[in-house]
């Protein structure tokens, strides 16, 4: 089967291409680029992308798909449906499932469920330690062989520096990046929002920015020592961004991602005690948001990742300090990136595509993805940068509704998503 994505504007940062170019797909792969005046082969289907951007499929380095174990919040199928509706062709689920993805059988199960769903690619992230208890190393080699692309204990970051050092030494053997949710829980325990003026005002226990800074600095020192690749999840503080910038200048193998909510919202939004503004890391104050924007601008921050964290309505309809952390994000990320970054002139379209495709593919070494060079997998995100639309929780593909962006108006979205050459979503 042949398909031509015709009349669009191709942006492929990994191939340094930003031009009008038609993309020919054969058997799930990109087979050639054709100039707009070049004749397509006989019997070729055509997808008309007039006025649209054609980009390598977006890859979300950080999601929670809740399966196995918490299917009332999300399943791999429902999460994958939300992903492709948001323009993401690949998602990387964290291992905090029940049971924890700390072995090859669960890794394989997740991939199989994704294949059944037939929507987005799912590249699981394995646990660093068994049950993410922070004590004994999980079987990273076996998980890698089963398809895991990185390791992390995410929300339960390894507190013991000695074990983290050993995890990095070991993960390096298998070329697995070690992802850390940087939070020294001895400093943040019991906290439910950013520690600062607003937490004082609201009488809510704060999570200080320095809890993130200290852990990020520790990981960078360990990365330097071990030579392992450390990927800092969802940076949210000025201290962590500064630490990553210094480390990169020193040539340390560190990368980082940012979530749309951390480049959009501040802790002031917590004032109404709406639990859809509760997540970890928490929404920070203005000075941190400014540092995040600076890090996005100067390239310190490599990727945009959603930290899509579905929770059932009943779980969020609780007291602010009892409700679970996290918000959904797959369907709003691209809209937020356009509103807050592209249309405000903070980054170019090309840089947006790089942060959502080329860079994530490089960070997790996803072969044949993050670019549309001939020979690559035909994962494609087609974008209308001027499309006006309104996000509604009621219409979300996710099984959960915990987004603070209900009713937000956006300009710019994915209007078609192709995975392996197959159209899996069209707006």
């Amino acid at each position: 089967m042949k398909l031509l994505i015709a009349n669009g504007h191709l942006i492929d940062p990994a191939a340094q291409e930003n031009t009008g170019m038609n993309v020919l797909i054969e058997d799930g792969k990109v087979s050639a680029w054709l100039r707009p005046n070049e004749k397509p082969p006989e019997g070729c289907e055509v997808f008309d992308a007039s006025g649209l951007l054609v980009a390598p499929g977006f890859i979300d380095l950080h999601v929670h798909l809740r399966e196995p174990g918490q299917e009332h919040k999300e399943t791999i199928a429902s999460g994958a449906a939300a992903a492709v509706a948001g323009g993401w062709t690949s998602v990387c689920p964290m291992p905090n499932t029940n049971p924890v993805n700390d072995n090859a059988a669960i890794t394989r199960y997740m991939i199989e469920q994704a294949e059944h769903a037939g929507l987005a690619n799912v590249f699981p992230i394995g646990a660093i330690t068994k049950s993410s208890d922070g004590a004994e190393l999980a079987e990273m080699g076996e998980m890698k062989a089963a398809g895991a692309v990185a390791v992390s204990d995410d929300g339960r970051p390894v507190p013991n520096a000695g074990i983290m050092r050993r995890a990095m030494q070991y993960a390096k053997d298998f070329g697995l990046p070690v992802i850390d949710h940087c939070e020294d829980k001895s400093l943040s325990a019991g906290g439910v929002m950013h520690e600062g003026r607003v937490s004082l005002l609201l009488g809510l226990k704060g999570m200080p920015a320095l809890a993130e800074d200290i852990d990020a600095v520790r990981d960078i020192i360990l990365a330097k020592d071990t030579g392992a690749h450390v990927h800092i999840a969802h940076v949210s503080t000025k201290g962590a961004v500064d630490a990553v910038r210094r480390a990169k200048n020193e040539g340390i193998n560190v990368t980082c991602e940012v979530t749309p909510h951390h480049f959009t919202l501040t802790d002031k939004f917590v004032e109404g005690y709406d639990t859809n503004y509760k997540m970890a890391p928490p929404l920070r104050s203005e000075e941190h948001l400014e540092a995040i924007i600076e890090g996005i601008k100067d390239g310190t921050i490599d990727a945009i990742a959603t930290d899509h964290a579905p929770h059932h309505h009943d779980e969020k309809a609780l007291e602010f300090d009892r409700a679970p952390m996290g918000i959904t994000g797959l369907e709003t990320a691209v809209g937020l990136a356009f509103n807050e970054l592209v249309h405000k002139g903070i980054i170019s379209l090309e840089r947006l595509v790089e942060m959502c495709s080329a860079n994530p593919a490089r960070i997790f070494s996803l072969e044949g993805r993050g670019t549309l060079r001939p020979g690559s997998v035909a994962d494609i995100t087609v974008i209308d940068p001027e499309a006006k639309w309104t996000y509604s929780n009621a219409e979300s593909r996710s099984r959960s509704r915990n987004s603070p962006f209900d009713g937000w108006e956006f300009t710019g979205r994915a209007v078609a998503t192709f995975v392996g050459g197959k159209l899996v979503f069209q707006a």
Partner: protein, 340 residues
């Protein structure tokens, strides 16, 4: 949530203007007299229903609200819930909706989690009155403290008020700071460094709405121009002596023994020596200074018995004014107007 019959929530002091606060105090003044009559009952709220929903233990506040409702002839129901709705498997919102379905006019809520009254106000048709939420606010306590202060000092403008103790976790401190600074008093806070967080002096500049965020649904009117507070009106002192020196009012906060686990200070013994209000420390205040404590007191820890029992201590006056303030708040919340 639009409230029927001019019902108005009282969620916190921070949303109130100085005029609104004065209106509540004046209304309270009018109800004081009812409490010393032979027959302590007026028909003002006959046919109205008040639910006292207490998720946290309380003797004084709950009794005070119950008496206030009964002396106004309202039907009052007390509900004590062990800890959270969660323990019964019901969400907070479900609890609120179930009570709301019985059509109460007013729900008085106390909860260990900050923000619960705000969350209930969004879904409830009844007027929500905050009787203390976590470390956030305890507006009726601040109002009764203000009644006590006004009775003895006549005015708030230029008054020096020291608030001493666990500032970090104190809803009483927060509500009092908002109220006193809005009425023109100057507040100085002091306590152990672990319990008086960095930047606390900025607390009072945070009343303004963040841009883009939704307004509090069902909340009372936002602070108006007459509630403008100046930066120097709230000051953090390193030593409690500096806070107390020259004060007209010394407000002592309760040390919650249960917080001892978290080791904010080494021992109660050391606390009492370095931060307790003794006669010697009180001598640093103005000669006619008054002492307030929200209760229940830990005698010999945050306050020496000889201070608590002295004529300068107005702790029992506070309790007396509490009933009048709560009568006023119930009356205003269910549609009454403040005297003009």
């Amino acid at each position: 949530m639009e409230k029927p019959f001019r019902r108005r929530d009282l969620l916190g002091i921070r949303e109130l203007s100085a005029a609104e606060i004065k209106g509540i105090l004046d209304t309270s003044e009018n109800f004081l007299e009812v409490n010393v009559r032979e027959i302590k009952k007026v028909p003002t709220l006959r046919g109205k229903t008040v639910i006292n929903l207490f998720f946290e233990n309380s003797t004084r506040t709950r009794t005070s609200f119950e008496l206030a409702a009964k002396r106004l002839s309202a039907d009052a129901v007390n509900i004590s819930v062990a800890s959270s709705s969660l323990s019964k498997g019901e969400t907070l919102v479900d609890t609120a909706l179930n009570l709301d379905a019985m059509n109460p006019d007013c729900i008085v809520v106390r909860h260990g989690s900050a923000g619960v009254p705000y969350q209930l106000a969004k879904v409830s048709k009844a007027a929500i009155i905050n009787a203390g939420d976590g470390s956030n606010e305890h507006p009726t306590q601040a109002l009764l403290d203000a009644m006590t202060i006004r009775e003895h000092k006549k005015q708030f403008d230029g008054l020096e008020v020291a608030i001493v103790g666990d500032i970090l976790h104190s809803r009483v401190a927060r509500s009092n700071i908002h109220l006193l600074t809005k009425l023109g008093a100057r507040v100085r806070v002091a306590g152990p460094g672990t319990l008086v967080p960095n930047g606390f002096e900025h607390l009072i500049h945070l009343g303004e709405r963040p841009s883009g965020s939704p307004p509090y649904e069902g909340g009372v009117a936002a602070a108006s121009a007459d509630g403008v507070v100046l930066p120097q009106q709230l000051q953090v002192c390193e030593h409690i002596e500096d806070a107390i020196r020259g004060a007209d009012v010394v407000m002592i906060l309760r040390i919650q023994r249960e917080r001892q686990d978290a080791a904010y200070f080494p021992t109660l013994r050391e606390y009492s020596i370095h931060y307790g209000l003794t006669n010697e420390r009180l001598d640093l205040a103005k000669k006619d200074a008054i002492v307030l404590h929200p209760g229940p007191m830990n005698r010999g820890i945050e306050i020496a018995s000889e201070v608590a029992d002295s004529s300068r201590s107005l702790i029992l006056d506070q309790v007396k004014y509490g009933v009048a303030v709560r009568m006023a708040v119930l009356y205003l919340a269910t549609g009454g107007s403040a005297p003009t």
